[in-house]
Structures are given as C-alpha cells and as structure tokens.
Subunit: 292 residues, 2 copies
Amino acid sequence: MPEARLADWRGRIDAALAAAIGRDDGTPDMLRAAMRHAVLLGGKRIRPLLALAAADVTGKADAALPAAVAVELVHAYSLVHDDLPSMDNDSLRRGQPTVHIAFDEATAVLAGDALQTLAFDVLACAPLPAATIVELVRTLAMATGGAGMCGGQSLDLAATGHSAGTTVAALEHLHALKTGALIRAAVRMGGVSAGAPAAMLDALDRHAKAFGLAFQIRDDLLDVEADSTQLGKTAGKDAAQGKATFPAVLGIDASRSRISGLEEQMLGALSAFGAEADALRALGRLATQRAY
Amino acid sequence: MPEARLADWRGRIDAALAAAIGRDDGTPDMLRAAMRHAVLLGGKRIRPLLALAAADVTGKADAALPAAVAVELVHAYSLVHDDLPSMDNDSLRRGQPTVHIAFDEATAVLAGDALQTLAFDVLACAPLPAATIVELVRTLAMATGGAGMCGGQSLDLAATGHSAGTTVAALEHLHALKTGALIRAAVRMGGVSAGAPAAMLDALDRHAKAFGLAFQIRDDLLDVEADSTQLGKTAGKDAAQGKATFPAVLGIDASRSRISGLEEQMLGALSAFGAEADALRALGRLATQRAY
C-alpha cells in the first residue's frame, strides 16, 4: 500500500524537520520560534514526499531524507517571504496566521533567510558521499535562485495586475520557474541521493515536469472552487489580485482536461518501472485529484 | 607590496562577482538588475579579500576565489535585507540608493534571497575537490544562518531601543554573530580552499576573531565620527535608532584602546608566518585604521 508508506514517510519528514530546526546551535529563541512556526504547523509535505518516492524507485528511500528536509525548508522559506506585505500580503497560511502576523515583518524576513541557509546546511551535513552532496547543493541552488523559484516569483509580481494579455505559454513559463523548478529538484535530489543512474533520473524528471504543471493547474482550480477553510489559506485571491491563472486563461474545462493529459504523461514516464514506483504514482494521483 | 596585491585581488573579485551575477541562466532582467545593484556598485570587499589573503598564506590565493565570491554575495544579500523598511530602514548604502529604493521592496526581498542562493551555487560549481566544497558549504551555512549572521541581526533588532542596560559582553556576543561569524568564515573558507592544515586554520581563526571585533568597533566609532558623504551610508544612525554601540557602552577612548589590544592579538596570531601573511597583516591595518 503506497498510501501507508507515504503516511509513514510524512511522520519521518516532520520529525527530521523538527530536529533540523531544533538543534542546539545558539539560534536566538524568537528567530527559532518563527522558523518553527513557518515549517512545523502543517503543510502537505508534497516536495519531500516526492524526494523519498523518487529514491524509493531504487529501494533506497532513506538516503533521500536530508534532500527531502532541505527541499521543504526552501519551500517554507519561500512561503514566508511570498506572504510578506510587500509581496502577496497574505495573513493566513495552512490555517494559521502567517509569520509576519504571528511575529513581525523583520522576523519573517530573517526566518525565511535562516530557513534557506538551513536547507544548505542540512545537505552539507548529510551522511552521503561528498560528490553526491555537491550535486545536491548544485541542484537545489539552480532550482531556487534567480533562474528558478525566485525568478518565477519576480515574474509573477511583475505580471500581477497585467493578466489581460497573458498567454498559456507565458503562464507555463512562470510556473515552470516559480513552482516547477523546486518540484523537479525534489525528485532529482531524491534520485541523486539514492545513486540513481542517468536514464532513471531522466524518466523521473519527465514525471516531475508533468507533476509540477498538473499540481499548479489543480492549485489554480482550487483557488476558484474551494473556500478558505478547506484550503487553510485565503481562497479567491488570485482573481482579487489580478493574477493570471490557468482557469482564467484556458477556461475551467480546458484546465481539467489539461490535467488529464498530464496524468497520462506521468504514467507514461514511469511505465518502465514496477511496484517500486507506486509511491510516485500515488503522489501523482494526490497532485491531480486533491481537494485542498 | 601587499597593498598592490590587494588592489589586484580586488579587481579579480569584482570581475568574478560580475561574472557570477551576469551568467546566462534565465534570471529575469529586473531581478538580475537588482542583484547587480546590490553587489556591483561599490563595497570595500573586505571579506573576499580576507579569503584570498588567508589562502595566500599557503601560496594558493587563486583557489579561494569561489569562496571569496560566495562570502561577498552573502554579505551583499544581508545588506539588502538589513536595509529594508521593516529592518534598519536605510535609504543610502555605498553612496547609492538602497535596493528597495532603487527598485521596490518586493524586488529587494527577492534579490537578497537570490544572492544567498547564488553564494551556495558558486561554491557547488567551484573547481575544487568535492570534500573541500562540502566543507565550504558547511562553513558558510553555519556562519550565515540562525546561529550566525541571521541570529545576530535578530538579536540586534530585539535590542534596538533597549540599549540602556547593554553590557560589553552582550554587545560582543551580538557582533560575534552578526558580523564576526561571516568574517571568520571568510578566513576559514580561504584556508580550506587552499588546503591549509588544521594548525594553520586555528592561527588564521585567531586572527579573524580579533579582526572581526576590531572591524566592528571601528565601524561604531566611524558612525560617531564621520559624516554620511565619507561613509557612503547614513552616519549617526546607531544613536538615532537607539542601538547599543562600543563607544556608547565603553566610551570612545576605551573603544580605541580596545582596538589597539586587538591589533596586538592579530599580529600575535600571525607570528608564526613570514611574508606569506603580509596581505592578512595589511588587511588588519585597514580594519583598524580605516577612515570610512
């Protein structure tokens, strides 16, 4: 049952995240509390689960735990900064006040900064060969920086309020950077941690690419369809903020059939694998069918 | 002449910083422009020079160029975020408008974030043995995160406006994190890049520790003594913001004699070395005698 394995992994990911933030290193109390708030009060743990599931294809899910933690720390840092008043100005996240509301804005900036650093710290301290660690650091940095997640957020801010003429291609490019790059990095880092050969990494990456886009389209649909209580964050914000979304640009029906096409791509990418890829397949279903 | 060597190194550091930020990787134009603004419009380059000077003790200054670049990128990111309205709210830096003034606040947050990522990216791509790279990543992360620079800034914000009862010990602890950790990391990373043995790293670290404190006390004295044009940043801000400083807590004369004591510690730490440590000695003089 891949679902049971995912539930078990989720527990281990949460424990490892708590250990990383809780280590006795002299971090001032308030900063640490803000980091805990950002990471430990919920979250679906999709990205770290992807890392473990990708490593599980070689039978070595355990090896990917540091990569899983690092990816989730980066994701958490990005949410803290994206929620800031100067960015998306959001006060609710995972059903809780955002960090700058629960603490203050300066602490939110610093907590995000320190979480990013901690991600690279966790990788550097991983019980893995040095060459593997270097590859993990490089992969995470490429996916996270100006040519990845940060660049995507910059494009998103520039496009906000100017959604009228947005094309599907521009929207896909934006999300390939903003959310896709880190999802692909999670999968690749899982595979790299487990020593997966290049051909396997390629297949995993095809899965991750389709997964990332399907996940984002589903996210956009949920913003239209669900309410804030279900989401744990403010619903209907995309339209209110003048953001281009897949339902707005493509229409709701075409967005749904786009997801179906991506589901087929995901299954195709994993066709060479047997039960060892079942956790990845289960996560794929989660991405496309989730209701929150 | 160590001064000529430092001037040569400064040119190579600036070129390497420009190359790191300018690489053709798909970073959106506005984000890249903000990153350039943060890094390339000046700066004394003290930290990267320390990295090269530390490596020069083994005769291999060149090996430390990636470490030098990474440390300066982290320093630049920290200035961008420290200058934000929610932090120190400063509009002038290196004689130029700060990033959130020249661009906007969201772009300043993202540019700082992307500069931090780029620092780790540069290390991961360094032409050095993998084990050396892992040690560099670990050293930079430890110095930069919650237990280092970020933690120090958090303590500084918490103490601002409550400077009345500050002790010298508390002030030294704050600065050991906020500025000292990255300076020590710069020196250690230079030594590690050049393959310096442990005993040499220890001597270099004693120098770096004294250097960092002397540098900070001099900084505090300059904030009292100099004007904004000389400094390229707003003078007299520490007192205006209710920050504890060494002149305020120790007095000006005692601050100056504290620097003299640290100068002796620096020279003592390097006493086992000959001319190969002359660049470090010259930087020590710069730290304690600089007029801006």
